[in-house]
């Protein structure tokens, strides 16, 4: 067990600075050929026996047209078969046509609202923040980010989403620091 982990096991009353030495950067890229079906990107599942603390999460798109992005936590079962395709295609987690919401299961972790919410507008590689709070994901959960828009389904230029996260994975024998719960 690492030194940081030992500290956490013995003292969960605070978050020792050494925990942050375990901060990992994760980047996931969704399919980039979005012309017909709305783009999305999904993270890997949290490994079995672990809890993932998401300390920062963001996403961006390259195309210039502004669109809103939503970030959802997806529970195991529903999220298990969802992968990042390599081509412009549909995913069964979206209940409407062309990868439009609603989704079959999930809970929103980003700021919500309609297509006009200013802080969730993504365009021209400008990142949007995916969560106003630190999020804890149990084992098996994933993060899904997708484009939502009220416009027609056809996009004039190919597009896609890239998801970035700064996370700490805690092992089953550790205690979660108080500040995260």
């Amino acid at each position: 067990m690492s030194t940081a982990a030992s500290v956490l096991v013995n003292d969960a009353s605070s978050t020792p600075a050494s925990v942050f030495s375990r901060l990992q950067f994760i980047r996931k890229v969704g399919f980039q050929g979005f012309v017909l079906n709305k783009a999305f990107v999904i993270s890997d599942a949290v490994p079995k026996g672990k809890v993932r603390a998401i300390l920062a999460i963001s996403a961006f798109r390259l195309a210039a047209a502004g669109r809103i992005l939503h970030f959802f936590a997806i529970p195991p079962g529903i999220g298990d078969p969802i992968v990042n395709p390599t081509t412009d295609t549909t995913s069964p987690i979206f209940l409407a046509a062309n990868n439009n919401p609603p989704i079959s299961a999930g809970v929103l972790i980003s700021v919500g609202g309609n297509s006009s919410v200013p802080e969730m507008q993504a365009a021209s590689s400008a990142s949007v923040n995916g969560s106003p709070d630190n999020a804890l994901l149990p084992e098996g959960w994933k993060v899904l980010c997708f484009v939502d828009s009220g416009e027609g389904v056809t996009n004039p230029t190919a597009d896609g989403i890239t998801l970035d996260m700064a996370v700490i994975d805690f092992d089953y024998c550790e205690c979660l620091p108080d500040g995260l719960l």
Binding site: A12, G49, K50, V51, I68, H70, F72, A73, P75, A96, A97, N100, P101, P102, A105, G106, V107, L108, I109, S110, V111, G112, G113, N114, S115, S116, V117, P118, P132, D133, A135, L136, P138, E139, D148, S149, G150, F170, D171, Y172, C173, E174, C175, L176, L181
Partner: protein, 202 residues
């Protein structure tokens, strides 16, 4: 809390509200009550409705006395059982509620953070109703018998539709609740207090 305990006690719940029969009913959705002996910490919660127009949605905590009266009916919401019986706007199921406390951000339909769908059924937008911007909500736990209620300012012009409440919940058995959030012991009964104070008086 240990990671293994966290993983073993996180729930995903999805509740669907009644289908409103027409434009005169405001849609709502209620969770089941927190089981006896347990508390719920709401880690994440969101609402969406199948209505296309832009309306505010809110999440409330409902106390046990009122939660017992409410259910997600198939058709025909229980008008007047928990919403005020007066309908100032001419619709059924209008606020204020008879007894509830707001958990989500407040405001009216003009607040984009709580505004619902925009552009129709193919464009349902979820609303984050558990943004923990204030520390009080971060510490908040729902006690046994309480329930969550989501409802929409209006159904925006009619038709049938419904609301869905999704939540990631950390359930805690009473024995697992840290001492700092356990309810304080009952105060000393006045008679006992009186005896204690005055027993030594000659």
């Amino acid at each position: 809390m240990k990671v293994s305990d966290f993983n073993g006690n996180v729930l995903f719940r999805n509740w669907r509200g009644q289908v409103t029969p027409d434009a005169t009913w405001r849609p709502y959705v209620i969770s089941e009550a927190v089981p006896q002996g347990w508390r719920w910490k709401i880690l994440a919660a969101s609402l969406f409705s199948t209505f296309g127009t832009n309306e505010a949605v809110w999440l409330f905590a409902i106390p046990p006395q009122l939660a017992k009266l409410i259910q997600n009916q198939t058709i025909g919401p229980a008008d007047g059982s928990f919403f005020a019986p007066t309908t100032g706007g001419g619709l059924h199921n209008e606020p204020p509620l008879k007894g509830a406390v707001l958990l989500s951000e407040g405001g009216n339909t003009g607040n984009n953070d709580i505004g619902s769908g925009f552009g129709g059924l193919s464009n349902d937008s979820s609303i984050n109703v558990a943004i923990r911007r204030n520390r009080a909500f971060k510490k908040f736990e729902l006690d046994s018998g309480w329930a969550l209620l989501g409802f929409q300012a209006s159904n925006g012009g009619g038709g049938t539709g419904q609301m869905v409440l999704s939540a990631m919940i950390l359930q805690k058995h009473f024995a697992d609740v840290p001492p700092d959030v356990v309810q304080p012991a009952a105060p000393i009964a006045p008679a006992f207090y009186f005896a204690k104070v005055y027993a030594a008086t000659p």
